[in-house]
Symmetry: C2
Subunit: 405 residues, 2 copies
């Protein structure tokens, strides 16, 4: 089930990036489940990771390697998260990096490992390592789409996006892929997302741009409120010394940052559209707050409420459930009598109660759309915030009650 | 569906309390949906209400009346929450109190109104008022069970409990009834719960006792994380001047407080057992925290996680989902490698990973029980906290996607 997810767009290759995918038999049969991304020698790399205190082994290793050296490889597997695997899991992730470094004659700490899948199962190191020779021969600049498919778990469709920008009159590209469908409530990072640009960008600009993009995109989506143990989002800039360097003070920085944010937003929204069991893509747009933080409190309370989510599944304009979620969200001194709410363009609540000319059938028609916008005015100030989420369907329960069996 | 809920126990009448229930046709047909509780002239009354900023009209009126006079009547209807109804809702609740005061020749502010049901529908004042004469003739000391049935909404079974205690060698009773099945995450109060004792208790002791009992019982349950707009829990003590007065310094106070807490705990657990779609009653017992607050953070994160709740529905010992919820709960400096977790008596996680002799089949058998205990040691200190919750089933989605239609 997906909520209005379109076909994967054409993903423009990025100079300096080659990708390969193989079926390593980690968990799935008859499909790719291991991807490798090779970064050119001039590449710089920025990354953000989950803030869950329970961090998967590859997150720990990738963070460590990133602090030591310039990455040359991203190694990504689906089917096994290598999380909750203790010292053995750390050793497994390290051994994968060492084996890959032997294959390519590079330093082990230039390999960043990423894993997604079931938590707590022994990591099948040997299956990955056995597939490295095939991975090495398969590297190609046009491997983005196949890699987007290889990293899927409960995802039903691959996710990717491309955007363009100019630096000093020259055209550059940002292309990214992501996976994610459940355990989605990113905190400073998302599930797995991999972006690259052929521009030359200095480290400070690269990190700043990624942090801002993630804060406004991946960190604004929620499927189930469950922050993953494996969240990671990485961005590489491959441009060599001949290209102009984008710094934070370069006139092209904002155009570059917009392109990165655009790709992040499309990937983040694609994750919500492909959320487990999703039938609707819901934009919760809260404005009129004193601070952005209180708008986020209200938007997240609405987006996480199982009562709201089941009402959305039923296309039931049960506006009291939305308002009750706003009421309990924890904003000090909130006056519910000043709150207004719209389903789409339809004003439903004013002064804390139903509008006089309320048309329930019309409200139901708005909620029956695949794309639903719920706007809430807190009536307290001028700040705003948006959260994107999905509904809670029978299919969600089926998927999560049966995922391991 | 209920998770191991036993038959309603025999509810001991409380001297000074009479109850009546009628079918007023508020929403349901062929069943009682309106109850009246009459308190004797010596009764004192303490109450706690929802802290949701979105408060139903009866909550606003009841709180106001309680501050003005000693209550003589609790008027409780099911089927319409009179919430989100604006000024018209306030007027409706007030008019019910005035009409009832004319029926019984008392002051309007001695009536406390309580409502539960659908949010945002016009309150059918006249249907209630028309039923008052029949209510007046039906008052009886043994009306507890029938009242427990009259206040049900999505509840599938009535909920009540009785406990006994002694003051100066004399026997007294606490009896209570409650309703609640969804929108359950009480904050300083629960859904609707009504308790009474025939002891004589001074106001300070009554309020103190209720607040403590609620904090450790109703405020420790969650079904869906959604705090209701109508939560209220009231306790009356009907004892007259001939009875010894229980104060906070009276030697019988602790026995009295224990009896109230016992009744509250049974009612609170009954609400979870009858939670919408519940197939399991889950005790999340977190210990080894530096503070009780951080134990509650962890327990609530586990209890609210849809991934944990669907795993419980499937009896799937998917321990990584539990640990991931602990990891994201927001405890600063939590070291996941010190965390231990048990399913029932079975140690599953030690040092942040699976124990060496883990027996998945045995873990599955534990989770397949109706009553499941999940114990978590944070490995940081000596504090602890318990939360009771239910699982997330297909039936939950069905109930909440279809409740209004």
């Amino acid at each position: 089930m997906t909520a209005g997810l379109v076909e994967l767009p054409i993903l423009t290759p990025v100079a300096g990036i080659r990708l390969a995918s193989v079926a390593a038999g980690i968990r799935y049969h008859g499909r790719d489940d291991l991807a490798l991304v090779e970064l050119g020698p001039d590449a710089r790399c920025a990354a953000v990771f989950t803030r869950n205190a329970f961090q998967a082994a590859p997150v720990i290793i990738a963070r460590d390697h990133l602090s030591q050296a310039s990455p040359r490889f991203w190694l990504i597997n689906a089917g096994n998260a290598n999380a909750g695997t203790g010292d053995a899991g750390i050793e497994a992730a390290s051994e994968c990096c060492r084996a890959l470094s032997r294959q390519f004659d590079c330093a082990p700490n230039t390999v960043l490992p990423f894993s997604t899948g079931v938590i707590g199962e022994t990591f099948p190191t040997q299956r990955l390592v056995s597939a490295f020779p095939e991975l090495a021969t398969g590297l190609a600049a046009d491997g983005w789409e196949r890699a987007a498919r290889a990293i899927m778990t409960t995802d039903t469709v691959p996710k990717g996006a491309t955007a363009n920008f100019q630096v000093d009159g020259k055209d550059f590209t940002v292309t990214g892929i992501a996976k994610g469908s459940g355990m989605i409530c990113p905190d400073m990072a998302t599930m797995l997302a991999f972006l690259a640009t052929d521009a030359r960008v200095d480290q400070d600009a690269l990190e700043n741009c990624l942090q801002h993009a993630v804060a406004g995109t991946f960190n604004r989506i929620t499927v189930d409120g469950d922050t993953s143990t494996n969240d990671a989002c990485v961005l590489a800039a491959t441009g060599g010394p001949d290209a102009p360097t984008v710094t934070r003070s370069h006139p092209a920085y904002s155009e570059f940052a917009d392109a990165v944010a655009q790709v992040c937003e499309r990937l983040a929204q694609a994750i919500v559209r492909d959320a487990e069991g999703a039938t609707r893509f819901v934009t919760v747009d809260v404005h009129g707050g004193e601070t952005e933080a209180e708008c986020l409190l209200a938007a997240r309370a609405v987006a996480h409420s199982p009562l709201v989510k089941t009402a959305l599944f039923a296309a039931d304009p049960n506006w009291g459930r939305f308002l009750a979620a706003v009421g309990r969200c924890g904003i000090t001194g909130l006056n519910i009598n000043k709150v207004e709410m719209w389903f789409g363009d339809l004003l439903v609540v004013r002064n804390g109660t139903l509008v006089a000319d309320y048309d329930e059938a019309a409200a139901g028609r708005v909620l029956a759309q695949t794309d639903v916008r719920v706007a809430i005015n807190l009536g307290r100030g001028r700040e705003s915030a948006v959260i994107w989420t999905s509904d809670l369907s029978h299919e969600y329960v089926t998927i999560n009650a049966e995922y391991r069996t």
